[in-house]
Symmetry: C2
Subunit: 327 residues, 2 copies
Amino acid sequence: MTKKKNFRVIALAGGVGGAKLAYGLARLLLPEKLTVIVNIGDDFEHLGLKICPDLDTVCYTLAGLANPETGWGRIGETWHALESIVELGGPTWFRLGDRDLGTHLERTRLLGSGRPLSSITKEFCLAWNIGQTILPVTDDIVPTIVFTDKGVLPFQEYFVKNKCIPKVKGFEFSNVNKATPAPGVLESIKESELVIFCPSNPWVSIDPILAIPGVREELLKLTVPIIAVSPIIAGETVKGPAAKMYAEMGIEPSALAVADHYGFFCDGGLLTGFVLDILDENMSSEILSMGINTSTTNTLMQTNSDREKLAREVLEFGKEIMNRNKI
Amino acid sequence: MTKKKNFRVIALAGGVGGAKLAYGLARLLLPEKLTVIVNIGDDFEHLGLKICPDLDTVCYTLAGLANPETGWGRIGETWHALESIVELGGPTWFRLGDRDLGTHLERTRLLGSGRPLSSITKEFCLAWNIGQTILPVTDDIVPTIVFTDKGVLPFQEYFVKNKCIPKVKGFEFSNVNKATPAPGVLESIKESELVIFCPSNPWVSIDPILAIPGVREELLKLTVPIIAVSPIIAGETVKGPAAKMYAEMGIEPSALAVADHYGFFCDGGLLTGFVLDILDENMSSEILSMGINTSTTNTLMQTNSDREKLAREVLEFGKEIMNRNKI
């Protein structure tokens, strides 16, 4: 596969895990053929700045600006503004790097001038030489709220401030019913030839995308393959609290639970393919019995070549499902 | 003078020049005896942040955090947030360093929570181990507007964005009549034993302080010496547009013009002493004839020891005027 694939792919993504697969896909597809639809449920205001963690992680990753060690934040980052805030006794639970701050400052300025987030993101992608299309799923504010045994917490307070320690009881995507998809979201889904749910957290990365009125409905109309990549490997997550969330919600965390999750969320009919890790091979037959094609591979992405390899396998799997359907 | 002076001194200051003399005074006086009343006419909002250039310059200087090369901004500063903003095509005419940004972020956060600027400044001074009292002259917003041949400009647009190139025609301190002095300003003037107008810009640093209702009136009630240090040496300013402003306002820039300025502004009765540079010695007699004591010295402050030396001379001059009055 030296020639870049030219079929239109949509990737639904949260932060780090989603960005990794998106990066792999970007290496294989013509830039104009890849659209990444990104979760904005994690977005919040901090120190007067609008912060969009998933959007920035995806953009920084595709732009080659991401910190390769953390997966989030920027390469060559410094922390001098934060050090000043520490000196002054200000809030430092959310770590803002200096280079990253520039993004938040400029985005906040543009939002203040009335520009929608999707339009600002488009401008930033141009500035960062990102050829792919990156869309926040909505321009509306739909903050994820986490119901926990320590009370109701805004997402970043659960995730960063409380380090995911409180036990989750449920989630709410505030004002989701009033939200509309950002310009381009439904159109790109309509025109897609393959949809990929990146290995992001089903509860708080993919669900908030699917919950925006119109998104799930548009996906359900598709006849092209919709493939999810499991973020859970051998009952654990590479990063983030997805497995812990499943356990706390009374579900054994597993690839099977993820396949079931998307099936349940979308009334059984959404996924046509599921990619699970070789460590979870034993679950393949049960997922198959749900009417979902499966592909088993090494899903852990540690290097850029891992990302590309997994992306290639997902694309080939998509092609395979398409061909099967044609027969 | 090894023992620190223990009489109560008020210094009125703008940015760099004012901060330098304040630094010299801080070396000589017991910390609790020095109050610096700072101009806030230069304050503005930029990128959603409240920025107080003079207040920060005075604080950073007294805290030993100032960049010794520029006189403004912080030592060991980096510019990564600004570089990000440059990448994104955002406004960069006002250069915000990373460490400095931390100050603006935390101040903006605290102002947003309803705290007045003077209270925040007090907290910051504690955090920065500044023993002296630094007071913004008011907690109200009184932005300096510059009338120029290129139109009416907010101060920082004149000063930084347009590099003081437009010709000034006049100044306005917006909403000044509705402003009240910050807590402690009038009290500290009342209790002062010596008042010093630092070598700051008379038009846009000292006038906006004197213009806050109550400040000039309280100063006029004093019987203790009020000494101004000329910011103009041999017709020029060390830094900033004061000389250019005098010329454009139709007044020949000189130490005499400064002495006259404060006399005029305060109805002839405000100053009891005036410190001018040895290069301007020839103007001494004319200033004396205005009923103002004069002291001639080297007023250029290039090193910390220059700052201390000038501060010592101003304090001695103040003592001398006091003793003269006693006779």
